[in-house]
Symmetry: C2
Subunit: 370 residues, 2 copies
DNA sequence: TTGTACGCGTTATCAA
DNA sequence: TTGATAACGCGTACAA
């Protein structure tokens, strides 16, 4: 009789002349099976091409062997943000090693987001989730606690959280950008921020403000936007309509910076001659627009890997500690230059000075093709 | 005694005073249960807050209630391409309705890609998969047949395929772009293509070539690139180094077009005065660079929804038919204009003529903010 | 080491 | 026609 379908653990047991239990022990490398028997069992399993049934195992262990990610972003932004694909690629590298899967959910409203987590938990689709884009007093922390769903947050929440965090610090990158501009002679450095309710948007804004204060300068105007090109363009118009036009603008992401650059050009303002701009993310395109965009490079793929490791460790029971990631680095390109009527700067401007232990690199150092 | 954990079907049966089987029949709306009994069972289930166990059901029905997507792209490109997030958002809308999950796998090599499908199939993680980025003589078709994994292809493969296809036709968009340029007076229209091995890259290239021939013009030079900004820049340099410099370039995606625009600017070529450019994808940024990019708008989210429906129908047993999607549309913006020394054009140039049943729209018509 | 119950829903078989 | 009973799918875990 031809066995249809895949061999089961019972088939292996029969072939090896032992019980199911013995097979299970042998295959999981646990004590309680004589070495000779173990070999016989392993040989039989291999000969029949047996693989454990994921479904059977999931049922009996009450585990999903999968982790989840719920993305809540407006659709037009999802495509423009290079963060997620890179983050996910990093996650996958780790998951593949450990034979786990990633269940993705993309939603476009807050309601749907909560439902997403609830469904994931109710169906037992995943053993844990990633929490991205932390918000002020993020309600998802309590939700996940209620659902008893282990999680890892990207960044440290501003509310008490029982979950380990992968600490990513955007601030040094912004701080470096401000310093770079100040060294070039800028005194009016504005900021186009991300939405107020995001912790990372807030952090970038704070870093901008603090760095200016540290340089003895008053924080220039700040306009919150939504990370989209349209939002960046609108914010830039607002800033350029001011009586006291800034000589430099720090954007919370590349997309807004690129849109801002176009706005400046349409208004006849030379970049960087009249206006210096910096982005955030260091997207591939940043090096390939004209002028090439000075930006802050982060490592979303590295964060993804670290987050996946932390989450799996948490699920396995060990782990639970925060992980600190390397800070973001400024990549200097052509969109930043001394302001039109340079104040006297402490150092000769035009070539930014390098700092030891720095978070500033020039494009040439990283083999940037621009 | 307090019941810990979720109620099972056995609990419901006990509460309703019937057998497990009866409960299952009642809850799945199948005949063989008297109406009164059915009501009693449903009431009991509701009262106890019973939800079917996804794992139990998966085990007994040998189904995963999930579909898979394996993305094989170089990491730097993944972030830049707006296609995937939009496609996935469309997929999710449909999956959520039907209580299915999406298992995502991101890989960066061909080897890993094949492994990805094999793992998905071996573990029974999914009931079917999406096949994107079809290649010439795509080996994945045979692989999926071997794995007995139902699939839906995005586009029609060039090899015999047992799978339904969601037919997306990029060609009308490219054809419209060529016509638009020809009407503006261009006679030297070059193309920066996608990689040769992708069917969609090939289709766009063919459309460009055919449209030029149809206009009685010889196809200008064509340079294959890799969809990245770096590749687009390099290809543009190649084209602009030619003795016979084209007056217009059609790019296979926006990213390459934007990089090409920067190259033109760096070389002192005014866009669109000296060189007209068109992109493909109509990313959000396209409307917000300067000059705003004429591009071809597609509907990746709509394709995702259609593909998800087709795949679920296929898995359910009904369906299996191809689905045809609306063709891509050209969106005319500021990066295209008459060439520097215009040939006499059949119509007054400068304002592209509208065609009935057309695939050309102007930015104003779609409420484009540029 | 073995035997067996368990996790949970589906479905074939069979008696009423 | 209605509904109970039991087998099934598959690996894990505990008592014997």
């Amino acid at each position: 009789m031809v066995r249809q379908g895949r061999p089961t653990i019972t088939d292996v047991a029969r072939a090896a002349g032992v019980s199911k239990g013995a097979v299970s022990f042998a295959l999981n490398g646990r004590p309680g099976v004589a070495e000779g028997t173990r070999q016989r069992i392993l040989a039989a399993a291999k000969a029949m091409g047996w693989t454990p049934s994921h479904r059977g195992r999931a049922l009996s262990t009450s585990r999903a062997f999968a982790v989840g990610l719920v993305l809540a972003r407006p659709p037009e932004l999802l495509g423009a943000d290079p963060f997620f694909p890179a983050f996910i690629a990093g996650v996958e590298r780790v998951l593949a090693e450990r034979n786990q899967a990633l269940v993705l959910q993309v939603v476009t409203s807050r309601r749907a987001e909560e439902d997403g987590y609830r469904r994931l938990a109710a169906d037992g689709r995943v053993d844990g989730v990633f929490l991205l884009d932390l918000r002020i007093a993020d309600p998802r922390i309590a939700l996940l606690e209620e659902l008893r769903l282990p999680a890892v947050t990207l960044g440290r929440p501003d509310v008490a959280s029982p979950f380990p965090a992968v600490l990513v610090d955007d601030r040094p990158g912004i701080t470096a950008a401000v310093r770079h501009l100040v060294e070039l002679g800028h005194r009016h450095v504005a900021h186009v921020a991300g939405p107020d309710h995001f912790l990372h948007g807030r952090a970038r804004r704070d870093a901008w403000e603090n760095a200016l204060r540290a340089a003895g300068l008053p924080p220039g105007p700040c306009v919150p936007a939504d990370f989209s090109a349209a939002g960046g363009a609108q914010a830039t118009h607002q800033l350029l309509d001011l009586a006291d036009v800034p000589t430099a603008i720090i954007y919370a992401n590349d997309l807004m910076a690129m849109a801002g650059m176009a706005v400046a050009r349409e208004r006849g303002l030379d970049v960087p001659g009249r206006l210096s701009l910096t982005g955030f993310d260091d997207t591939e395109l940043a090096a390939h627009i004209s002028p090439a965009l000075t930006s802050v490079r982060t490592d979303p793929s590295g964060w993804g890997g670290a987050a996946a490791r932390a989450l799996l460790d948490l699920i396995e029971g060990d782990g639970g500690a925060d992980v600190e990631m390397a800070p973001a680095q400024l990549v200097v390109r052509a969109s930043t230059a001394p302001p039109p009527t340079p104040h006297q700067s402490p150092r000769p401007a035009g070539r930014p000075s390098r700092r030891p232990g720095r978070s500033i690199v020039t494009a040439a150092e990283i083999g940037d093709p621009s």
